[in-house]
Assembly symmetry: C2
Homo-oligomer: 423 residues x 2
């Protein structure tokens, strides 16, 4: 334990929401409220913008019961932003303002809960405060359904979306096979550059084959090959379920979703209905079969009712560890996970292969984390680039275990309602 630093803490949330980002925020808030030397706990409204605009909510004023509900309330309860901080050497206006606010509220602890860009923000603020000699400990708490943060085994938020996707694909697969007339169903998952969420479609194949073809942005997409794959599957099975990442792209790097009228897709209005609708239409035109495009859209990152219990616990633990590390004198790091896994079992998931999973928090230097992207390893994608191999199952299966402790009120989610008292 280093020397005690007395002062207030600010927690901000940034980037796209997840169904468990509030569990992380609550890990920070709860631990900070319980810490003697943390004099006040503030929540920044709309991330760093809330600091810049002097809009801070006093977490000490909230009812314990409502705060507890943050464990299963999706999205960013404090509000979020996508605000890119300038290089302080070029323009330090924002940094001066942040320092002013930190001084005004005697802020000595700053936690930022987000993805790549948020870790970059964290890093820049930390370095600036050091430079100007203002003592403030800074800690990043990761969240991103995209699971693309460097260093950490996985990111809080990924597993809950993965569980949503696998569950939904299992259900949709049951729906699409009911008639003897056949159908090709295209399911679009989020993840513009990294295919982790789309790969989660493979989890739907553990108990029985539900998803026939899976296309990640890690591989170059070829429309003719895709149509041939779908045709082959449809002819063999009479049905075909396909998962595609929103980020699939052609060899020249252009997104398939943005493709203009061409001989291949035949029209130029893909932006209207998104990728799934466009691919469904292309398959329909080429193969003449019944098709349906389903975009999982915001549902996949907001679906708290089917969040992973493991993800919720770990998200809370990450927030808690961030505050504990700062109390111990640490700064300028991101909390991540280091995991060990049970015996590899691939698609033949066993109790042993899941039970061997252990997860510990670990600190990663912010400068290592910011602005890198982690992709699905090549060895977890099949040669043809249309399926996911057992290595991914071993990796992801332990993460989606356990159910949410979500309380219901009148049969519907009982989400946290914060008072949001401004400082």
């Amino acid at each position: 334990m280093s020397e005690e630093l007395r002062g207030a803490l600010i927690i901000g949330q940034s980037g796209g929401p997840t169904s468990v980002i509030n569990a992380s925020a609550y890990g920070v808030i709860r631990t900070a409220l319980d810490a003697d030397c943390i004099t006040k706990v503030y929540g920044a409204h709309y991330g760093i913008k809330g600091v810049l605009n002097d809009e801070l909510f006093v977490m000490d004023e909230e009812d314990r019961e409502e705060l507890d509900k943050l464990m299963y309330t999706p999205s960013s309860a404090l509000g979020s932003c996508r605000y890119k901080m300038k290089d302080p050497d070029v323009d330090d206006t924002d940094y001066k303002r942040i320092l002013e606010i930190f001084k005004k509220y005697d802020v000595r602890y700053f936690c930022y809960n987000g993805g790549n860009d948020s870790m970059d923000t964290c890093n820049k603020i930390s370095k600036y405060m050091k430079k100007v000699g203002y003592e403030c400990r800074v800690m990043g708490v990761p969240k991103t359904i995209d699971n693309d943060l460097y260093g950490t085994d996985h990111c809080p938020g990924f597993a809950s979306s993965a569980k949503y996707i696998a569950t939904s694909i299992m259900e949709v697969a049951h729906d699409t096979v009911v008639y003897d007339t056949g159908m090709v169903t295209i399911i679009e998952c989020m993840g513009r550059h990294a295919g982790w969420l789309t790969a989660a479609a493979a989890l739907a194949n553990v108990s029985e084959r539900n998803c026939d073809l899976i296309y990640l942005p890690e591989k170059v997409f070829d429309m003719d090959k895709f149509l041939a794959d779908v045709e082959k599957c449809y002819k063999e099975k009479g049905n075909c379920i396909v998962a595609v990442s929103e980020g699939i792209h052609y060899e020249d790097g252009s997104f398939v979703s943005e493709a203009k009228a061409s001989a291949t897709d035949g029209f130029g209005h893909a932006q209207l209905g998104g990728l799934a609708a466009m691919l469904a239409n292309t398959v329909k035109e080429k193969l003449g079969c019944k098709t349906r495009g389903i975009e999982l859209s915001l549902l996949q990152r907001a679906g708290a009712h089917v969040a992973s219990g493991t993800d919720i616990s770990e998200s809370f633990a990450a927030g808690k560890a961030a505050v504990e590390a700062m109390l111990d004198g640490e700064t300028d790091h991101m909390v991540g996970f280091e995991c060990t896994r049970g015996e590899a079992a691939g698609y033949d998931v066993t109790e042993q292969s899941i039970a061997g999973y252990e997860c510990h928090t670990k600190l990663f230097p912010l400068s290592d984390v910011a602005n890198y992207e982690k992709h699905v390893p090549d060895e977890w994608i099949n040669e043809e680039g249309n399926d996911i191999l057992g290595g991914f199952i071993d990796y992801a299966m332990p993460l989606i275990q356990g159910e949410t402790p979500m309380k219901k009120k009148n049969g519907l989610p009982d989400f946290a309602k914060l008072k949001k008292v401004l400082a």
Copy 2:
């Protein structure tokens, strides 16, 4: 108790699936398996087509444990069809074939599990068997997420989809308010002619206002009025969440989803992305704000993981009651529900208003049920035609209570896997 009729039973499923149609089928199967005078229980593959094609699965051969899982396995486990039976006076080919199969397997009990058309099929088969003097008791078991069957208080399947829709809208609403930049989100629900499912968006407003505008097919849609409604809401709140039925239509009866290029919507490719995408695009063009269209698609009728416990129990009860009624000598009816409700409380749902709910099965003559459609009553829709009133809340709230007993395996649904042994 009428005289005992010994013989086999056939259960068939028809029309679009729901997340609880298998609970009804299981109500039939379980009760039939336990009945002494029912000698064999067959499941027809792909509904009435399975009878015509002599493709019957022997339910007696299935493992009890897997059959039990039908309680929470979505979609039609036996397969479904959309097969319209001809008028037997015009063409009795199918009826002769059905009689032949009934005789072959000594079928004396026939249960059909479906919507409007299925009740019509039931009715025709029943009348034909009577005409030719073949003793066979026929009973319809309703299912339809559309909730549009005549006579019964509500239809098995509706409540689970309603719960899915309300839960998803609450979650999506949390997601869309995180930024200070604002967004208009259009959520498209199923129900081509009846607006019951879209009205369920109002259930998301009980704890706090999550869905701002709701448009049902019961009212004529006016694009200019719609855009004005959205603009007003967006300007007041900074965000706007809209639920629309896939069946909204203009004064001339044409579906909004099928509208071609016009001054109002500005393009002619609505079929690509569906109604939600088209409306989102129209709003974007007119108001210049960020928009998103979300089509709940098959997810809303397959979402067994968030099915209503009440719906599951009632669906099973309907199937059970069908067999019990036939054993009692009844025929040519559909099992429906007669309900009493607690004190009206509208949007201020109280424990009392829910606790007073009671539901009993009741027989309705098939000829009364077939080919009618029940719509959302006018007095439950507001004057402006863009919101749902408290009467609907009193009606629907008790139906979505309780959670599914779904068992999970490795964190994912453990759906029934039937052996499907052909007779």
